[in-house]
Symmetry: C2
Subunit: 241 residues, 2 copies
């Protein structure tokens, strides 16, 4: 690869476009549906427990969420939930899948600035078709050299991507809003991570401690700060430090 080029992986949901805010609105309607049976905290905790129990079989994404929401509603109402309320949950799921893609502020500009000089890769987990649909609607697809829709974002997944891209970890920068899925695995492999927090984080992705990896970990307020970090990294990688 060219001397000053980095391979930059971008998470999608809540890094390039809004996602958790859509889930949060659905959670609000879900709590309202079950409010006559249980308080909001019980509803949230039970739904999360169902999602975690089903994660191995369902994987990530809206379809598995919808199935877990139906199952939890049956459980929390002791089977008293009406069929038309279950139908409403199915429709909520479809509304999520059909939701417009709303780019985060600065996402399009930042990718457009970086794409001519670096190899950009989209790396996202979730339902295959849903992620493809969102990428197509986002208008960002032409800026990416490759798209990896994966079932889990762990060290093994990133190691396979480094092999496929034929790039050493020291020249791979992952950018995302989840320390757990986007940052920690790539730091563990010796790569670079830029953490751009979103204002909401799904409980499953929460990590308490900030990583310590001097010169390899960067916490940014916005994607607009990324080109500056990339410029410094591309230079320092180039000089072999």
């Amino acid at each position: 690869m060219p001397l000053r080029e980095l391979v930059i992986g971008f998470d999608a949901d809540d890094t390039l476009w809004h996602n958790e805010s859509i889930f949060e609105k659905v959670h609000e309607r879900y709590r309202a549906l079950l409010a006559q049976y249980h308080d909001a905290a019980t509803v949230d905790q039970t739904l999360f427990a169902t999602e975690m129990r089903n994660l191995e079989l369902y994987g990530y994404g809206v379809k598995g969420f919808t199935l877990s929401a139906i199952e939890t509603a049956i459980q929390l109402t002791g089977g008293k939930i009406a069929a038309d309320e279950i139908q409403r949950l199915i429709e909520l799921g479809r509304e999520m899948l059909a939701h417009p893609v709303e780019l985060l502020e600065g996402a399009a500009d930042t990718l457009a600035r970086l794409a001519p000089h670096h190899r950009l890769i989209l790396i996202t987990k979730g339902d295959l078709r849903d992620q493809e649909r969102k990428l197509a609607k986002s208008g960002l697809a032409p800026l990416f050299h490759d798209v990896e829709i994966v079932s889990e974002k762990d060290e093994g997944t990133y190691a396979a991507i480094l092999r496929r891209q034929d790039v050493p970890a020291s020249r791979f920068l992952m950018v995302g809003n989840s320390l757990k899925s986007d940052i920690l695995p790539i730091l563990a492999l010796g790569g670079l991570g830029a953490f751009v927090p979103y204002h909401l984080t799904w409980a499953h992705e929460r990590v308490e401690e900030m990583p310590v990896a001097s010169g390899r970990f960067f916490r940014l307020k916005t994607l607009r700060d990324l080109p500056g970090v990339v410029a410094v990294l591309a230079d320092s990688r180039n000089s072999g430090t």
Copy 2:
């Protein structure tokens, strides 16, 4: 690529392992659940119509099937279906996802014979995690050079795979049980297709007419006939005919 090597794409469901037979058993239980409301043909037709209506949003796979089955049951019972029957549908879906992988007769032998001489690629559609799980359980993963889990198997998908594999269509053989998804698109691109019918075909995959593509299309009774076809093809490609 080496002179006598082909790139051979294999479909997974109903080509390497049983799938439609598992769906068929679930369909039987589904008809029984709704038998007091409607005859089997109405149940089948309504479920299929729901699946087709949802395909664009859900894509292929068990999770979308389960959601469509719940929606259809609510519709066909006029909302009278009980919550515990919907819970039963959710459990049927999970049983499908947890089902053991049963290889088709000859699948493992055939792949093991071909893998040392040709580049084998698994090309399958469906839920990402479900297909990964089945491949892992199948024991066949080490025989594949690459795995492509895609949201649709059309000409665009195969053209992208040919580019990624850096192989001309004339040296790419696709093997599968669906004329629509496995054979017609690759023949249209100038590639080779080996059709190995399964005893059941999902209505969405049915094609009435056998393709005509002399020297490029092969209909096999079993995967065990594949190495013979491959031997001839590898030679004829080599000699440039």
